[in-house]
Symmetry: C2
Subunit: 201 residues, 2 copies
Amino acid sequence: MGIKERKAREKEQLRQQILSAARELFVNEGYENVSMRKIASKIEYSPTTIYLYFKDKADLLDFVCQETLLKLLNTLEQLKSEISDPVERLKKSGRAYIAFGLKYPQDYKLTFVVRPQFQEGLRLQEGSIGKKVFDYLHEIVSECVRQQIFRQVDIDTTGQVMWSAVHGVTLLLIDFPDFPWTERDKLMDAVIHTTIEGLKA
Amino acid sequence: MGIKERKAREKEQLRQQILSAARELFVNEGYENVSMRKIASKIEYSPTTIYLYFKDKADLLDFVCQETLLKLLNTLEQLKSEISDPVERLKKSGRAYIAFGLKYPQDYKLTFVVRPQFQEGLRLQEGSIGKKVFDYLHEIVSECVRQQIFRQVDIDTTGQVMWSAVHGVTLLLIDFPDFPWTERDKLMDAVIHTTIEGLKA
DNA sequence: TATTTAACTTAACATTGTTAAGTATAACAC
DNA sequence: GTGTTATACTTAACAATGTTAAGTTAAATA
């Protein structure tokens, strides 16, 4: 019964081909400016073929974003094993988070700003990758509180404050590239440093 | 020569009519989901009439956002006269900023997240209202540094850190309404308090 | 009263996401 | 090996979009 498997493999291959073509176009030209026909012509299939693999354009976006989140999660998880001191880990993680957003600005916006509008309801739900990214942050913050480095306030709130800070600076840098910001690295460090200091005991 | 003036007045009236119809639709249904035809039918004119008053859809969005910023600026300016202590003023301003974003979430996103993508180049430039909103924040922060309440670091950076924090929490609350956030007021206060503490000397 | 100008509309274009119907090829049953 | 069925894909079409060009009507001017 090797034929069925080969077929399935081929189907999965085309699925991935569609996905990576969509990703590349979305990221380079923006979700709105990419048509299904453009994606189709890039992979040299008819536009309707895409609909055999994905429900619609939003569904395609959804899977692209999922991949992005996975990449981010991997980047962060790697840091986890490298650094033991929780504060240092938090700093490095924050920096990695912002850097990721700046490296893949379109992906970041798609995932954390645009998609929520298109797919109301099931975002950041239990078990989702988005939730896992947040849980990662949350875990480090918890450790800081446990070691009494941070003020003993609500742990959830503390994590959310941290997220707000990095999310905010990431988006501002993405959306207003021409604004006379402080040098990027300096601003990133300032945001992280300020927030951590503010959270300390 | 009253005729010319009446004509001009009528033109301005229609312009405002278009603008407010567009605003209402953009805010309720989202920029992407509003067609020029929908706006036109709301004001009972043909779609092409809009093009006699605005360059294109993006231009219309631009003016709608301008109005939003003006409202925000007015809200903030009012606080300026009411509170003298710079730290207290900063706290209240931060809260007002976030509250504004939550009260007009679509407007906020249109102005600070969506529009930049559609109108590259001329955003937050000198003299713009967006710049004025930032300058307002900047001014309070400067005062805090001057009175040596805040650490003596780069004033620009300090303002940008503050903005990042409030921008971030505002967007998270807007975009992920179903996430199990800490109670809104508490989170708002935590973000502002943490940032200010982190900036203190 | 004739002519120019202003304000608006009708008709059309190319492009969009998406669906329904059709086609060819490969797998299967006998 | 032949006939049938299912799979994978395409062609053609729909309604809706932003936008432009060409018209029309009515008012202002001469």
